[in-house]
Symmetry: C2
Subunit: 204 residues, 2 copies
Amino acid sequence: MKERGLLIVLSGPSGVGKGTVRKALFSQEDIELHYSISATTRSPREGEVNGVDYFFKSHEEFEHMIEHKKLLEWAEYVGNYYGTPIDYVEQSLSEGRDVFLEIEVQGALQVKEAFPEGLFIFLAPPSLTELKSRIIGRGTESEDLINNRMKVAKEEIEMMDAYDYVVENDQVDRACDRIKAIVTAEHCRRDRVARRYKRMLEVE
Amino acid sequence: MKERGLLIVLSGPSGVGKGTVRKALFSQEDIELHYSISATTRSPREGEVNGVDYFFKSHEEFEHMIEHKKLLEWAEYVGNYYGTPIDYVEQSLSEGRDVFLEIEVQGALQVKEAFPEGLFIFLAPPSLTELKSRIIGRGTESEDLINNRMKVAKEEIEMMDAYDYVVENDQVDRACDRIKAIVTAEHCRRDRVARRYKRMLEVE
């Protein structure tokens, strides 16, 4: 029996660079993650291939998927639906592959509800660390600007609560390395490994 | 305020190659771990330096340390004491350095009791995985040999229970990579990072 793969969810505030990190990660040769393909009702752009870039669906098909709980998460943007088909994820996991999702915070919370055993990684803006020097170096920036940044930072820190890991996106390469380290480490977790060994010994 | 370092404990059954992995790990240039120096009552061997290889102690000094709970763990082998001085570990951790211990299973259990927040990594023999093919390929080995191997394997799996991670020592380099990944991942754990951010924002 094959060990079930991990579901890895990368999310974070908009503008943090989730897409850039995901692309950099999947451009690496040693990566063994499996990227989950989204479903959408928007029209294919030039060069986009059904089943590779997206699963292209009609509105009716998508609404049917929503109704029959065939989506791990979904959302509507400017008149089109976007979502993650469960079947594709489930099949990959049961084949022992690690599946990688890169989605918005709202979507990640939906996935967490449906799939609490997933691995939730929050991509944090480096501005959170920069904030400290800004606060200390006060005078160079207005009180309003600082206060606003503090407010945003506090919201971002609250957002983190639902996640298992936080990766700071200070440099794309370093963020990728940390994500890969997290996946490697999770595969070494004792409960997971011990379960595998125990199953192995029952072969007899 | 500096973030406290992690205490990383590498242990496993005798003969699994803990020392080899530790040496390979510390020969790497990008390693940021701090190796914990043991105390011992045995005489220095040629070239061994006090405070570098060991803290060399008299029997009286060592027993004084035991009595005053100045050791994270200790044991007696062939008439000499060996142990891990708490002060050295505590100081390194409070200076924000990750401290690495490589010790026997009995010692690891003592550390776990004194220091449950440590990171406990079990180095597993590759024989555990090889076992499967041996069992399947039965006939090439005697029943007794197989049964004995099964017994040992079961004991080793039971040993793992007290640990957070299991790293298989199939290849020394790969074992080192996994240990480094675990340390990196642990630094990304949400509770740790969020705590750091929260403390940062209180600077104001």
